[in-house]
Amino acid sequence: MIMRREILPLSIFLAFAVLPLLGDFGSDAFILSIVTRVMIFAIAAVSLDLILGYGALVSFGHAAFLGIGAYAVGILSAHGIREAAIQIPAALIVSALFALLTGAISLRTKGIYFIMITLAFGQMAYFFAVSLAAYGGDDGMTLPGRSLFFGYDIVQSERAFYFLVFACLIAVYVACRMIVTSRFGRVIRGARENPQRMEAIGFSLFAYQLTIYVIAGTLCGLAGFLLANQTQFVSPAYMTWQRSGELIVMVLLGGLGSLNGAILGAAAFLLLEEGLSHFTEYWKLYFGPFLVLVVLFARGGLMGGFKRLTGTDDGR
């Protein structure tokens, strides 16, 4: 039986599944590659939604994990290791360690401090990447090709790579959906509403929040791995603080704490960017005021609108 609240995610995934079957989209597979990009950023946005939406922790350094995942591919490739079975664990483990270290310090603070500190740590990762002269420094580096899977070059074609990203998105979405409804997720959601109440019944929240921070960072590291593979290029630009801001915008556009919203928000943001930049070089001149207006007048983002239309309420 399909519940009403499952209609939206099912239709999103169905749309992603049938898109490549609709046709060839020309030789350069332009649309396919845009949608691939949407799905990669959807993974990053879903992971950010875990801490931002469910944990109510405004992390402004999430792009660092995108960069860490990408550099895991870049640095290993530069040393001749193109095997995904090595690159993926490396991307995930380094992301997790970075999240553990920075999270342990940031989570000792709250509110504005937390925002600024995550921002600062993100910037630290950025400058570290810039200083890696051996790996391209500021300019970044081009990869020799996509990663190999057990020695096979199976994601070279845009279509094959599309399905790899699609599979990753589904896996991440399902994992996150499970986490937020699990015992652990219920503690995180409870802490969002009333941390003092949660502590008064015996939950030491720091450990839970650090755990969700590490999970989110790790999953975003996976998005970084995919991003490096799609563009076959790695540079510090992946982890600028503006990129972190864009990830927050994606989650907020789609609506906080719903996972589906993060996917829709990523799609909306990237398609808007793509669309607007066709018309004008200065698309941010229109997008910036749009953001301000969304905040001032349309609260709850895209998902807020969807909920108002359908009367569903997702997991809150």
Binding site: R108, M124, G245, I248, L285, L296
Partner: protein, 306 residues
Amino acid sequence: MSLTLLYVQTLNGLQLGVLLFLIAAGLTLVFGVMDFVNLAHGVQYMIGAYLAAMFTALTGNFFFGLALALPSALLFGLLLEFFIFRHLYARDHLDQVLATFGIILTLNQAVKVIWGAAPLSVPIPEIFSGSVVLMPGLLYPVWRLVIIASGIAIALLLGILATKTRIGMLVRAGATNAPMVSALGVDIGRLFMIVFGFGAMLAGFAGAMVAPILSVEPGMGDNLLILTFVVIVIGGIGSIRGAFIAALMVGLVDTLGRSFGPSILRAFLDPSAAAQTGRALAPMLIYILMAAVLFFRPAGLFPAKK
């Protein structure tokens, strides 16, 4: 390492420090008094630099330019406050982050449209051009000394304003306990506007002062904004004194770390490894400093809130 280089870099560090202080002083109050996350403070700095460049070009004199740029920067800040920020004070941090991020995107792009993407340059005022011999073998640009001196002068002025005037005391009280100040019957909206306008003008002043030595370009405030955050976190939100000390710390650690980090490491590592590690570590130093301060004092060195 030569002693002269050490002196020069210390002065450079001081100069970066006072610059950071000018930007941080207003922002730390905005954070502390209003609990408002303003990411757009860096663009105030950029706007100040552009306005100074424009008015200097128009009038042909930097000081006329500065005199026109300051009230314009103030006006611009007040307009932003009036049309956007004051509607966000009661919102949660996330809304504030999103809206001010939108403002950054807009203004970075707008200056590109208005003044072009190419960096503008502003000549150093005639009477402060050139360098001065501070000690045998130590030449230092006069304009940088002027920046340091004006920054320290403003720090002193702020100190007097904060402790000796009624408005200063209200602002300090607001940073410690905002609800109490509004309970005293103070028009908190007006207080916010004053703090905000003042912060915008200080940031604009910083931008104008560095216009002659840095290139004036879109996005120039972005990276400085994050250094400012580090300063505020280390100094403690809402504390002018904390901002001053932390700004000098960050300016000195960053500047000296970058120029001397590799040579210090050479004592422990072989030269090429030292150079490489040093280059990688130097830009991270201030963040490590921040983490260390936070580890021992989660609310910064001089927390305003009790």
